[in-house]
């Protein structure tokens, strides 16, 4: 079964086209069946002492996923609880998530290597 129905897919495409104009916490658009429970965000004030990351939310639980190493920053809660569809959408939109992070936090860009003298 496809993740998006055709009407929803059109709306999703329209939203993604508007991304460049959107300026607010970046909330990755999710299909209806996921968005009642899940959120994927890059916020405007983030824990910059950690690697650049996206936060995945399900009610009170949150997972931070590194945009640099594609690894989870915390061992708990179990990342296995995140549905494959959510992770697939994150990976499909990885470049956009990186762009959103870098635009907000240019002093801690995703591409920067640890110990790089340039910053």
């Amino acid at each position: 079964m496809p993740l998006f129905d055709p009407i929803e897919k059109r709306a999703y495409n329209a939203l993604t086209r508007e991304w460049r104009e959107i300026s607010m916490p970046f909330d990755l658009p999710l299909p209806k069946k996921l968005r009642s429970l899940w959120k994927v965000k890059v916020q405007d004030k983030e824990a910059l002492y950690e690697e650049p990351h996206v936060t995945i939310w399900r009610k009170a639980s949150k997972w931070r996923y590194s945009l640099r190493s594609r690894a989870f920053l915390d061992k708990k809660p179990d990342p296995g609880e995140i549905p494959k569809e959510v992770m697939d959408l994150i990976h499909e939109n990885f470049d956009e998530l990186i762009r959103q992070w870098d635009e907000r936090f240019p002093t801690n860009r995703v591409a920067e290597e640890d110990g790089d003298d340039s910053n």
Binding site: D44, K45, L48
Partner: protein, 264 residues
Amino acid sequence: MTPTDLMSNEQSKAETAFNREPLAARWVDRMSDAEQAAHSQDRHTVWIVRRAQLADRLVCELEWPTKRSGYVVIMGSPRPELLPALMRRFERVAYSTDFLPRQELEDVLQSSDRRERFVGGIVDRSTKTITLWRGDLTPFVVPFSAFTPTANDIRPNFGKFSVSDYGHTLRFGPYEAATDAVLYEYDPEFRRRLNEKRRLEEQTLGASIRRLRKQRQLTRNDFHGVDPKTLSRIERNEVHKPQEATLRIIAKRLGVSVEDLTSY
């Protein structure tokens, strides 16, 4: 260790255990609920008063001298005259017009990590501060300057404050802040816990400086008087003992004392 130290250690352990026990939310919607709240001695109950007028009734029902027990949350602005009586009667008193929705509030109160989440807050434009209520109902005050605009100019709108995501997010109109980012900068106790977690990871002066520099959104070129390459070497712990003058410049630019540098 002296007997006093032992006692305070025991007390602190008991307090920590108590703070982890779930708190039960009881909603005060009617006068009869307010009367029940006034007479209850349950230590783990949080009485959530939905209307400021019900707080008047609650205080009227108190018996004096009263024993301090339980917690109270007032949704709205209680009359200032009520606060000393409420603070005498309850362990903690929180009030605001901006609290989490009911289900999320109850979830935070029941959770063991409630101290690291926020349930509501009060924005004071005159002093440019925000008093945030933690999940254990202690106040936590931060200046407006904690919420810096992003590099792509997303600015907080302090007139539109709310807490969301089960107490993990502070919203100011279009601007969202992760609570752990705020706690990291303003709560030494949070940093101590975080560092404890990192004990087996990386806990050096260089790593601390780097983390704090990142959090302050500074580059290595922003430290006038310290060569960026030197700073890079310090951050990588390649300088065995950095000069005190250098550390003073770094600490000053980061807005902390030299002694506190390693706590970040």
